[in-house]
Protein backbone atom coordinates (compact mmCIF):
# COMPACT_ATOMS: atom_id res chain seq x y z
CA UNK A 1 0.00 0.00 0.00
CA UNK A 2 1.30 3.43 -0.90
CA UNK A 3 0.20 6.68 0.68
CA UNK A 4 1.31 9.46 -1.61
CA UNK A 5 1.46 13.13 -0.57
CA UNK A 6 -1.40 12.81 1.90
CA UNK A 7 -2.97 16.02 3.20
CA UNK A 8 -5.76 15.93 5.78
CA UNK A 9 -7.52 18.70 7.62
CA UNK A 10 -10.55 19.52 9.73
CA UNK A 11 -11.79 22.81 8.34
CA UNK A 12 -8.83 25.18 8.54
CA UNK A 13 -6.95 22.96 10.98
CA UNK A 14 -4.32 20.96 9.11
CA UNK A 15 -3.75 17.54 10.70
CA UNK A 16 -1.48 15.89 8.15
CA UNK A 17 0.45 17.63 5.41
CA UNK A 18 2.44 15.87 2.70
CA UNK A 19 2.75 12.42 4.26
CA UNK A 20 4.31 9.66 2.14
CA UNK A 21 4.26 6.10 3.42
CA UNK A 22 4.88 2.70 1.93
CA UNK A 23 3.41 -0.33 3.70
CA UNK A 24 5.03 -3.44 2.17
CA UNK A 25 2.67 -6.28 1.30
CA UNK A 26 2.33 -9.09 3.87
CA UNK A 27 3.91 -6.97 6.60
CA UNK A 28 2.89 -5.48 9.94
CA UNK A 29 3.42 -1.76 10.34
CA UNK A 30 2.95 0.06 13.63
CA UNK A 31 1.88 3.66 13.89
CA UNK A 32 2.69 5.61 17.06
CA UNK A 33 2.37 9.22 18.10
CA UNK A 34 0.90 11.39 20.82
CA UNK A 35 -2.88 11.84 21.13
CA UNK A 36 -4.27 14.11 18.45
CA UNK A 37 -1.34 13.76 16.06
CA UNK A 38 -3.63 12.21 13.44
CA UNK A 39 -3.26 8.41 13.69
CA UNK A 40 -6.99 7.67 13.74
CA UNK A 41 -7.65 10.38 11.15
CA UNK A 42 -5.09 8.73 8.89
CA UNK A 43 -6.73 5.30 9.32
CA UNK A 44 -10.14 6.83 8.57
CA UNK A 45 -8.66 8.42 5.45
CA UNK A 46 -7.19 5.10 4.31
CA UNK A 47 -10.58 3.48 4.84
CA UNK A 48 -12.26 6.31 2.97
CA UNK A 49 -14.53 7.81 5.63
CA UNK A 50 -12.30 10.88 6.00
CA UNK A 51 -11.87 12.61 2.63
CA UNK A 52 -8.34 13.49 1.59
CA UNK A 53 -7.62 17.16 1.08
CA UNK A 54 -4.90 16.11 -1.34
CA UNK A 55 -2.98 12.97 -2.29
CA UNK A 56 -3.83 9.39 -3.16
CA UNK A 57 -3.77 5.94 -1.66
CA UNK A 58 -2.85 2.96 -3.81
CA UNK A 59 -3.15 -0.75 -3.30
CA UNK A 60 -1.11 -2.87 -5.71
CA UNK A 61 -0.98 0.04 -8.12
CA UNK A 62 -4.74 0.81 -8.15
CA UNK A 63 -6.83 3.10 -5.93
CA UNK A 64 -7.58 1.39 -2.61
CA UNK A 65 -11.22 0.28 -2.21
CA UNK A 66 -13.09 -0.06 1.13
CA UNK A 67 -13.98 -3.69 0.26
CA UNK A 68 -10.27 -4.53 0.49
CA UNK A 69 -10.10 -3.30 4.09
CA UNK A 70 -11.15 -4.64 7.47
CA UNK A 71 -11.09 -1.79 9.97
CA UNK A 72 -11.12 -2.18 13.75
CA UNK A 73 -12.06 1.24 15.12
CA UNK A 74 -10.98 2.54 18.53
CA UNK A 75 -14.59 2.64 19.68
CA UNK A 76 -16.73 -0.06 18.22
CA UNK A 77 -20.41 0.12 17.45
CA UNK A 78 -22.74 -2.57 18.75
CA UNK A 79 -26.51 -2.57 18.37
CA UNK A 80 -28.08 -2.50 21.83
CA UNK A 81 -29.59 -5.79 23.02
CA UNK A 82 -27.78 -8.10 20.65
CA UNK A 83 -25.76 -11.15 21.62
CA UNK A 84 -22.13 -11.72 20.70
CA UNK A 85 -23.19 -14.44 18.26
CA UNK A 86 -25.65 -12.09 16.55
CA UNK A 87 -22.88 -9.51 16.17
CA UNK A 88 -20.64 -12.04 14.45
CA UNK A 89 -23.57 -13.20 12.32
CA UNK A 90 -23.95 -9.59 11.11
CA UNK A 91 -20.25 -9.63 10.16
CA UNK A 92 -20.84 -12.96 8.37
CA UNK A 93 -23.26 -11.17 6.04
CA UNK A 94 -20.14 -9.73 4.42
CA UNK A 95 -18.35 -13.08 4.25
CA UNK A 96 -20.46 -16.24 4.38
CA UNK A 97 -17.38 -18.46 4.69
CA UNK A 98 -16.59 -17.20 8.20
CA UNK A 99 -17.15 -19.76 10.95
CA UNK A 100 -18.40 -18.09 14.12
CA UNK A 101 -17.57 -20.92 16.52
CA UNK A 102 -14.21 -21.48 14.88
CA UNK A 103 -13.37 -17.79 15.36
CA UNK A 104 -14.47 -17.87 18.96
CA UNK A 105 -11.75 -20.42 19.73
CA UNK A 106 -9.48 -17.36 19.81
CA UNK A 107 -11.01 -15.81 22.96
CA UNK A 108 -13.79 -18.19 24.06
CA UNK A 109 -16.28 -15.37 24.64
CA UNK A 110 -19.79 -16.11 25.99
CA UNK A 111 -21.45 -15.47 22.64
CA UNK A 112 -24.93 -16.29 23.95
CA UNK A 113 -24.82 -13.27 26.28
CA UNK A 114 -25.86 -9.73 25.38
CA UNK A 115 -22.98 -7.50 24.28
CA UNK A 116 -24.34 -4.83 26.67
CA UNK A 117 -23.13 -7.05 29.55
CA UNK A 118 -19.61 -7.45 28.13
CA UNK A 119 -16.63 -5.63 29.65
CA UNK A 120 -14.61 -3.14 27.58
CA UNK A 121 -12.00 -5.81 26.83
CA UNK A 122 -14.60 -8.38 25.80
CA UNK A 123 -16.18 -5.89 23.42
CA UNK A 124 -12.77 -5.21 21.90
CA UNK A 125 -12.16 -8.93 21.45
CA UNK A 126 -15.58 -9.41 19.85
CA UNK A 127 -14.95 -6.55 17.44
CA UNK A 128 -11.54 -8.01 16.63
CA UNK A 129 -13.19 -11.32 15.76
CA UNK A 130 -15.66 -9.41 13.60
CA UNK A 131 -12.76 -7.87 11.70
CA UNK A 132 -11.19 -11.30 11.21
CA UNK A 133 -14.52 -12.66 9.95
CA UNK A 134 -14.41 -10.18 7.05
CA UNK A 135 -11.24 -11.83 5.70
CA UNK A 136 -9.95 -8.80 3.79
CA UNK A 137 -6.38 -8.38 2.50
CA UNK A 138 -5.65 -5.15 4.43
CA UNK A 139 -6.34 -4.82 8.15
CA UNK A 140 -6.41 -1.45 9.90
CA UNK A 141 -6.35 -1.96 13.65
CA UNK A 142 -6.80 1.17 15.77
CA UNK A 143 -5.67 0.46 19.32
CA UNK A 144 -6.42 -3.29 19.24
CA UNK A 145 -4.81 -3.82 22.67
CA UNK A 146 -6.78 -1.14 24.57
CA UNK A 147 -8.57 -2.53 27.60
CA UNK A 148 -7.61 -6.12 26.80
CA UNK A 149 -6.14 -8.48 29.43
CA UNK A 150 -2.54 -9.73 29.19
CA UNK A 151 -3.41 -13.19 27.92
CA UNK A 152 -5.61 -11.76 25.20
CA UNK A 153 -2.89 -9.28 24.21
CA UNK A 154 -0.66 -12.29 23.54
CA UNK A 155 -3.43 -13.98 21.57
CA UNK A 156 -3.99 -10.88 19.46
CA UNK A 157 -0.25 -10.65 18.80
CA UNK A 158 -0.16 -14.31 17.74
CA UNK A 159 -3.21 -13.79 15.54
CA UNK A 160 -1.61 -10.77 13.85
CA UNK A 161 1.55 -12.75 13.20
CA UNK A 162 -0.52 -15.63 11.81
CA UNK A 163 -2.45 -13.25 9.56
CA UNK A 164 0.78 -11.80 8.19
CA UNK A 165 2.06 -15.30 7.41
CA UNK A 166 -1.29 -15.94 5.72
CA UNK A 167 -0.67 -13.02 3.35
CA UNK A 168 -2.43 -10.11 5.06
CA UNK A 169 -1.05 -6.59 5.30
CA UNK A 170 -1.63 -4.97 8.67
CA UNK A 171 -1.40 -1.38 9.83
CA UNK A 172 -2.01 -0.87 13.54
CA UNK A 173 -1.74 1.81 16.17
CA UNK A 174 -0.92 1.44 19.83
CA UNK A 175 0.25 3.56 22.74
CA UNK A 176 2.16 0.62 24.19
CA UNK A 177 5.44 0.60 22.31
CA UNK A 178 6.41 -2.90 23.50
CA UNK A 179 3.38 -4.47 21.82
CA UNK A 180 4.47 -2.93 18.53
CA UNK A 181 8.15 -3.80 18.80
CA UNK A 182 7.11 -7.43 19.43
CA UNK A 183 5.09 -7.85 16.23
CA UNK A 184 5.89 -5.12 13.73
CA UNK A 185 8.29 -5.21 10.81
CA UNK A 186 8.40 -1.46 10.76
CA UNK A 187 7.24 1.31 13.11
CA UNK A 188 6.37 4.81 11.98
CA UNK A 189 6.31 7.62 14.50
CA UNK A 190 3.91 10.36 13.46
CA UNK A 191 5.23 13.65 14.73
CA UNK A 192 3.76 17.07 13.91
CA UNK A 193 1.36 17.41 10.94
CA UNK A 194 2.19 13.99 9.62
CA UNK A 195 5.97 14.31 9.66
CA UNK A 196 6.90 10.64 9.89
CA UNK A 197 10.01 8.93 11.23
CA UNK A 198 10.39 5.30 10.14
CA UNK A 199 12.20 2.65 12.14
CA UNK A 200 13.07 -0.83 10.80
CA UNK A 201 13.17 -3.87 13.07
CA UNK A 202 16.90 -3.50 13.70
CA UNK A 203 16.32 0.05 15.01
CA UNK A 204 13.56 -0.78 17.52
CA UNK A 205 15.91 -0.75 20.54
CA UNK A 206 17.09 2.71 19.51
CA UNK A 207 13.48 3.83 19.05
CA UNK A 208 12.47 2.60 22.51
CA UNK A 209 15.37 4.38 24.17
CA UNK A 210 14.76 7.57 22.19
CA UNK A 211 11.02 7.60 23.04
CA UNK A 212 11.63 7.03 26.74
CA UNK A 213 14.24 9.76 27.01
CA UNK A 214 12.30 12.32 24.99
CA UNK A 215 8.95 11.69 26.61
CA UNK A 216 10.27 11.58 30.17
CA UNK A 217 12.28 14.78 29.88
CA UNK A 218 9.34 16.61 28.30
CA UNK A 219 6.67 15.12 30.53
CA UNK A 220 8.58 15.68 33.78
CA UNK A 221 8.48 19.45 33.49
CA UNK A 222 4.83 19.49 32.38
CA UNK A 223 3.64 17.22 35.22
CA UNK A 224 5.48 19.35 37.79
CA UNK A 225 3.90 22.52 36.34
CA UNK A 226 0.40 21.00 36.31
CA UNK A 227 0.60 19.78 39.89
CA UNK A 228 2.06 23.09 41.06
CA UNK A 229 -1.11 24.77 39.77
CA UNK A 230 -3.16 22.64 42.19
CA UNK A 231 -1.07 23.62 45.23
CA UNK A 232 -2.82 26.00 47.67
CA UNK A 233 -1.56 29.56 47.41
Amino acid sequence: MNLIDIHLSYGKEVVISGLNLHVPPQSVMGLVGVNGVGKTTLLNAIFGTKPLTQGKIEWEGSPLQPRQIAFLETEQFFYPKITGREYLEICRLANKKADVDGLNALFDLPLHKLVDTYSTGMKKKLAFMGVLALDRPLLLLDEPFNGVDLESVERIKLAINHLRLGGKTILLTSHILETLTDICDKIVVLVHRGRAESYEKAQFAELTQHMQQTLRSKAGAQVAKALASLAPS
Binding site: Y10, G11, T49, R67, F71, F77, K81, L93
Partner: protein
Protein backbone atom coordinates in the same frame (compact mmCIF):
# COMPACT_ATOMS: atom_id res chain seq x y z
CA UNK B 1 -33.63 -9.80 0.51
CA UNK B 2 -31.64 -12.15 2.76
CA UNK B 3 -30.01 -9.13 4.47
CA UNK B 4 -33.37 -7.37 4.85
CA UNK B 5 -34.91 -10.39 6.58
CA UNK B 6 -31.82 -10.88 8.72
CA UNK B 7 -32.11 -7.32 10.07
CA UNK B 8 -35.87 -7.59 10.48
CA UNK B 9 -35.42 -10.66 12.66
CA UNK B 10 -32.54 -9.03 14.53
CA UNK B 11 -34.56 -5.90 15.38
CA UNK B 12 -37.56 -8.04 16.36
CA UNK B 13 -35.38 -9.99 18.79
CA UNK B 14 -33.92 -6.74 20.19
CA UNK B 15 -37.41 -5.34 20.78
CA UNK B 16 -38.51 -8.57 22.41
CA UNK B 17 -35.53 -8.24 24.79
CA UNK B 18 -36.40 -4.61 25.59
CA UNK B 19 -39.96 -5.66 26.43
CA UNK B 20 -38.78 -8.67 28.46
CA UNK B 21 -36.46 -6.43 30.44
CA UNK B 22 -39.12 -3.92 31.47
CA UNK B 23 -41.42 -6.68 32.73
CA UNK B 24 -44.81 -8.04 31.71
CA UNK B 25 -46.91 -5.20 33.17
CA UNK B 26 -44.84 -2.44 31.56
CA UNK B 27 -44.63 -4.40 28.32
CA UNK B 28 -48.40 -4.76 28.20
CA UNK B 29 -48.74 -1.05 28.93
CA UNK B 30 -46.38 -0.16 26.09
CA UNK B 31 -48.09 -2.53 23.65
CA UNK B 32 -51.50 -1.24 24.74
CA UNK B 33 -50.32 2.29 24.14
CA UNK B 34 -49.15 1.41 20.64
CA UNK B 35 -52.47 -0.31 19.83
CA UNK B 36 -54.53 2.61 21.21
CA UNK B 37 -52.34 5.15 19.42
CA UNK B 38 -52.81 3.31 16.12
CA UNK B 39 -56.55 2.99 16.76
CA UNK B 40 -56.77 6.73 17.52
CA UNK B 41 -55.12 7.48 14.17
CA UNK B 42 -57.50 5.07 12.41
CA UNK B 43 -60.50 6.78 14.05
CA UNK B 44 -59.33 10.10 12.60
CA UNK B 45 -58.66 8.58 9.16
CA UNK B 46 -62.10 6.91 9.10
CA UNK B 47 -63.68 10.32 9.78
CA UNK B 48 -62.13 11.68 6.59
CA UNK B 49 -58.89 13.12 7.95
CA UNK B 50 -56.69 10.80 5.87
CA UNK B 51 -53.64 13.05 6.18
CA UNK B 52 -53.36 12.01 9.86
CA UNK B 53 -52.05 8.60 8.65
CA UNK B 54 -49.01 10.44 7.29
CA UNK B 55 -47.85 10.81 10.91
CA UNK B 56 -45.96 7.59 10.26
CA UNK B 57 -43.45 9.48 8.10
CA UNK B 58 -42.04 11.83 10.78
CA UNK B 59 -42.02 8.85 13.18
CA UNK B 60 -39.92 6.81 10.75
CA UNK B 61 -37.77 9.85 10.07
CA UNK B 62 -37.07 10.11 13.82
CA UNK B 63 -35.89 6.49 13.84
CA UNK B 64 -33.74 7.12 10.79
CA UNK B 65 -32.25 10.29 12.22
CA UNK B 66 -31.08 8.64 15.42
CA UNK B 67 -29.53 5.61 13.69
CA UNK B 68 -25.92 5.25 14.70
CA UNK B 69 -24.95 2.24 12.60
CA UNK B 70 -24.07 4.03 9.36
CA UNK B 71 -20.29 3.79 9.85
CA UNK B 72 -20.59 0.20 11.11
CA UNK B 73 -22.44 -0.93 8.00
CA UNK B 74 -19.92 0.88 5.81
CA UNK B 75 -17.10 -0.93 7.64
CA UNK B 76 -18.74 -4.25 6.81
CA UNK B 77 -19.24 -3.21 3.21
CA UNK B 78 -23.02 -3.56 3.57
CA UNK B 79 -25.60 -1.21 2.14
CA UNK B 80 -26.71 1.41 4.66
CA UNK B 81 -30.24 1.44 3.20
CA UNK B 82 -31.17 -2.19 2.57
CA UNK B 83 -31.23 -3.35 6.22
CA UNK B 84 -33.85 -0.72 7.09
CA UNK B 85 -36.39 -0.75 4.27
CA UNK B 86 -38.16 -3.91 5.40
CA UNK B 87 -38.28 -2.97 9.13
CA UNK B 88 -39.63 0.48 8.21
CA UNK B 89 -42.20 -1.12 5.91
CA UNK B 90 -43.33 -3.49 8.67
CA UNK B 91 -43.62 -0.61 11.18
CA UNK B 92 -45.61 1.43 8.66
CA UNK B 93 -47.91 -1.45 7.63
CA UNK B 94 -50.91 -0.46 9.83
CA UNK B 95 -50.77 3.08 8.43
CA UNK B 96 -50.36 1.85 4.85
CA UNK B 97 -53.33 -0.46 5.44
CA UNK B 98 -55.40 2.55 6.58
CA UNK B 99 -54.53 4.43 3.39
CA UNK B 100 -55.39 1.34 1.37
CA UNK B 101 -58.70 0.91 3.21
CA UNK B 102 -59.83 4.47 2.45
CA UNK B 103 -58.37 4.26 -1.07
CA UNK B 104 -56.05 7.25 -0.75
CA UNK B 105 -53.56 6.17 -3.42
CA UNK B 106 -51.57 9.41 -3.44
CA UNK B 107 -50.75 9.14 0.29
CA UNK B 108 -50.01 5.44 -0.15
CA UNK B 109 -47.59 6.10 -3.03
CA UNK B 110 -45.98 8.96 -1.09
CA UNK B 111 -45.48 6.76 1.98
CA UNK B 112 -44.04 3.83 0.02
CA UNK B 113 -41.67 6.17 -1.82
CA UNK B 114 -40.61 7.73 1.49
CA UNK B 115 -39.96 4.28 3.01
CA UNK B 116 -37.78 3.45 0.00
CA UNK B 117 -35.83 6.74 0.13
CA UNK B 118 -35.69 7.41 3.88
CA UNK B 119 -32.91 4.88 4.67
CA UNK B 120 -30.69 6.70 2.18
CA UNK B 121 -30.83 9.92 4.19
CA UNK B 122 -27.58 10.65 5.91
CA UNK B 123 -27.06 14.37 5.74
CA UNK B 124 -24.58 15.22 8.43
CA UNK B 125 -21.34 14.17 6.68
CA UNK B 126 -22.08 16.60 3.86
CA UNK B 127 -22.10 19.59 6.17
CA UNK B 128 -18.95 21.52 7.08
CA UNK B 129 -17.25 19.93 10.07
CA UNK B 130 -17.10 23.03 12.25
CA UNK B 131 -20.54 24.36 11.42
CA UNK B 132 -22.37 22.67 14.27
CA UNK B 133 -19.57 23.26 16.77
CA UNK B 134 -20.62 26.92 16.86
CA UNK B 135 -24.17 25.95 17.66
CA UNK B 136 -24.77 26.07 21.38
CA UNK B 137 -21.36 27.53 22.18
CA UNK B 138 -23.07 30.69 23.48
CA UNK B 139 -24.59 28.65 26.31
CA UNK B 140 -22.89 28.42 29.73
CA UNK B 141 -20.84 25.24 30.32
CA UNK B 142 -23.34 24.16 32.98
CA UNK B 143 -25.84 23.52 30.18
CA UNK B 144 -23.58 20.92 28.58
CA UNK B 145 -26.51 18.72 27.51
CA UNK B 146 -27.82 21.52 25.31
CA UNK B 147 -24.38 22.45 24.00
CA UNK B 148 -23.82 18.81 22.94
CA UNK B 149 -27.42 18.27 21.88
CA UNK B 150 -27.53 21.28 19.59
CA UNK B 151 -24.28 20.14 17.97
CA UNK B 152 -25.57 16.62 17.49
CA UNK B 153 -29.21 17.20 16.57
CA UNK B 154 -29.01 20.86 15.52
CA UNK B 155 -29.84 20.12 11.89
CA UNK B 156 -33.15 18.40 12.69
CA UNK B 157 -34.07 21.16 15.13
CA UNK B 158 -33.28 23.95 12.68
CA UNK B 159 -35.24 22.25 9.89
CA UNK B 160 -38.22 21.63 12.19
CA UNK B 161 -38.12 25.16 13.58
CA UNK B 162 -37.96 26.78 10.14
CA UNK B 163 -40.69 24.48 8.84
CA UNK B 164 -42.88 25.45 11.81
CA UNK B 165 -42.27 29.16 11.23
CA UNK B 166 -42.84 28.91 7.48
CA UNK B 167 -46.04 26.88 7.82
CA UNK B 168 -47.43 28.72 10.84
CA UNK B 169 -50.23 30.20 8.72
CA UNK B 170 -51.77 26.70 8.70
CA UNK B 171 -53.64 25.85 11.92
CA UNK B 172 -52.05 22.47 12.71
CA UNK B 173 -48.45 23.13 11.62
CA UNK B 174 -47.01 24.73 14.74
CA UNK B 175 -48.57 22.25 17.23
CA UNK B 176 -47.16 19.31 15.21
CA UNK B 177 -43.73 20.94 15.03
CA UNK B 178 -43.81 21.71 18.77
CA UNK B 179 -44.58 18.04 19.45
CA UNK B 180 -41.50 16.87 17.53
CA UNK B 181 -39.30 19.69 18.86
CA UNK B 182 -40.15 18.51 22.38
CA UNK B 183 -39.09 14.99 21.41
CA UNK B 184 -35.85 16.28 19.88
CA UNK B 185 -34.81 18.38 22.85
CA UNK B 186 -35.75 15.65 25.34
CA UNK B 187 -33.15 13.33 23.80
CA UNK B 188 -30.45 15.81 24.78
CA UNK B 189 -30.61 13.90 28.05
CA UNK B 190 -29.55 10.63 26.37
CA UNK B 191 -26.11 10.61 27.94
CA UNK B 192 -25.34 10.43 31.66
CA UNK B 193 -22.51 12.69 32.80
CA UNK B 194 -19.55 11.54 34.97
CA UNK B 195 -20.38 11.42 38.69
CA UNK B 196 -17.95 14.27 39.54
CA UNK B 197 -20.16 16.66 37.57
CA UNK B 198 -23.16 15.90 39.78
CA UNK B 199 -21.57 17.17 42.98
CA UNK B 200 -19.92 20.05 41.14
CA UNK B 201 -23.36 21.33 40.12
CA UNK B 202 -25.59 20.70 43.12
CA UNK B 203 -25.56 19.95 46.81
CA UNK B 204 -28.20 17.20 46.90
CA UNK B 205 -30.15 14.94 44.50
CA UNK B 206 -33.26 17.10 44.89
CA UNK B 207 -31.28 20.27 44.21
CA UNK B 208 -29.75 18.72 41.08
CA UNK B 209 -33.10 17.55 39.72
CA UNK B 210 -34.73 20.95 40.28
CA UNK B 211 -31.80 22.73 38.66
CA UNK B 212 -31.74 20.40 35.65
CA UNK B 213 -35.51 20.48 35.17
CA UNK B 214 -35.62 24.29 35.36
CA UNK B 215 -32.74 24.63 32.86
CA UNK B 216 -34.36 22.16 30.48
CA UNK B 217 -37.73 23.92 30.73
CA UNK B 218 -36.27 27.39 30.32
CA UNK B 219 -34.22 26.53 27.24
CA UNK B 220 -37.05 24.60 25.64
CA UNK B 221 -39.36 27.57 26.27
CA UNK B 222 -36.80 29.92 24.73
CA UNK B 223 -36.59 27.74 21.63
CA UNK B 224 -40.32 27.32 21.16
CA UNK B 225 -41.65 30.72 22.29
CA UNK B 226 -41.38 32.39 18.85
CA UNK B 227 -43.33 29.54 17.24
CA UNK B 228 -46.00 29.71 19.94
CA UNK B 229 -46.23 33.48 19.40
CA UNK B 230 -46.60 32.99 15.63
CA UNK B 231 -49.34 30.40 16.13
CA UNK B 232 -51.24 32.66 18.54
CA UNK B 233 -50.86 35.56 16.11
CA UNK B 234 -52.30 33.63 13.16
CA UNK B 235 -54.83 31.45 14.99
CA UNK B 236 -55.84 33.07 18.29
CA UNK B 237 -59.10 31.07 18.22
CA UNK B 238 -57.12 27.80 18.67
CA UNK B 239 -55.16 29.04 21.69
CA UNK B 240 -56.13 25.95 23.69
CA UNK B 241 -54.47 23.58 21.17
CA UNK B 242 -51.11 25.30 21.32
CA UNK B 243 -51.42 25.58 25.10
CA UNK B 244 -52.02 21.83 25.28
CA UNK B 245 -48.93 21.10 23.16
CA UNK B 246 -46.88 23.50 25.31
CA UNK B 247 -47.93 21.49 28.39
CA UNK B 248 -46.99 18.25 26.60
CA UNK B 249 -43.60 19.75 25.77
CA UNK B 250 -43.01 20.93 29.33
CA UNK B 251 -43.92 17.57 30.88
CA UNK B 252 -41.73 15.81 28.33
CA UNK B 253 -38.73 17.97 29.26
CA UNK B 254 -39.14 17.24 32.96
CA UNK B 255 -39.73 13.59 32.13
CA UNK B 256 -36.47 13.45 30.15
CA UNK B 257 -34.50 14.74 33.14
CA UNK B 258 -36.05 12.48 35.77
CA UNK B 259 -35.92 9.45 33.44
CA UNK B 260 -32.19 9.94 32.88
CA UNK B 261 -31.40 10.20 36.60
CA UNK B 262 -33.76 7.37 37.55
CA UNK B 263 -31.42 5.03 35.61
CA UNK B 264 -28.26 7.07 36.21
CA UNK B 265 -24.93 5.31 35.91
CA UNK B 266 -21.85 7.47 35.19
CA UNK B 267 -21.19 7.73 31.47
CA UNK B 268 -24.14 5.54 30.47
CA UNK B 269 -25.99 6.13 27.22
CA UNK B 270 -29.74 5.49 27.15
CA UNK B 271 -30.45 3.98 23.77
CA UNK B 272 -34.19 3.55 24.21
CA UNK B 273 -34.81 7.00 25.65
CA UNK B 274 -36.25 8.55 22.48
CA UNK B 275 -38.68 5.66 21.99
CA UNK B 276 -39.72 5.88 25.65
CA UNK B 277 -40.31 9.62 25.31
CA UNK B 278 -42.37 9.11 22.17
CA UNK B 279 -44.55 6.57 23.95
CA UNK B 280 -45.06 8.81 26.97
CA UNK B 281 -45.85 11.77 24.74
CA UNK B 282 -48.32 9.65 22.79
CA UNK B 283 -50.32 9.18 26.03
CA UNK B 284 -51.36 12.81 25.70
CA UNK B 285 -53.19 11.97 22.50
CA UNK B 286 -55.46 9.40 24.16
CA UNK B 287 -57.75 11.17 26.67
CA UNK B 288 -58.06 8.45 29.29
CA UNK B 289 -54.25 7.92 29.31
CA UNK B 290 -53.67 11.58 30.25
CA UNK B 291 -52.63 10.97 33.88
CA UNK B 292 -49.91 8.53 32.82
CA UNK B 293 -47.15 11.03 31.86
CA UNK B 294 -47.63 12.88 35.15
CA UNK B 295 -47.65 9.64 37.12
CA UNK B 296 -44.52 8.41 35.30
CA UNK B 297 -42.77 11.75 35.99
CA UNK B 298 -43.50 11.60 39.72
CA UNK B 299 -42.48 7.92 39.93
CA UNK B 300 -39.23 8.65 38.06
CA UNK B 301 -38.53 11.66 40.31
CA UNK B 302 -38.70 9.45 43.40
CA UNK B 303 -36.58 6.80 41.71
CA UNK B 304 -34.04 9.46 40.66
CA UNK B 305 -33.63 10.62 44.25
CA UNK B 306 -32.92 7.02 45.32
CA UNK B 307 -30.57 6.42 42.37
CA UNK B 308 -28.58 9.65 42.91
CA UNK B 309 -28.27 9.54 46.71
CA UNK B 310 -25.12 7.30 46.74
CA UNK B 311 -23.29 9.83 44.58
CA UNK B 312 -23.77 12.75 47.00
Amino acid sequence: MRISFFFLKLHARRWYRYLSEIGLVHALFVLGLVVFGTYAVWAQVAQGRQYIALIVLPLLHSLQYYRRDHQFLVLLGLSVAVPYRLPYLVLALPFLAMMLAVGHWAYLALSVAAIFLLPLLHMRPFLPHNWFLQLGSFLPYRLFEWRCGLRQYGLAIIILWLAGAALSVFPVAVPIVLFFLALNTSVFQLMAEPKEMLTAMASSPGHLLRLKAMDQLALHALLTAPLVALDLWFHPQYWYIVLYVVVIGAVTQVQAVVYKYSLYRPGQRFESDSVFQLLVMSSFLVPFLLPIPFWVAVANYKKSIRQLTPYF
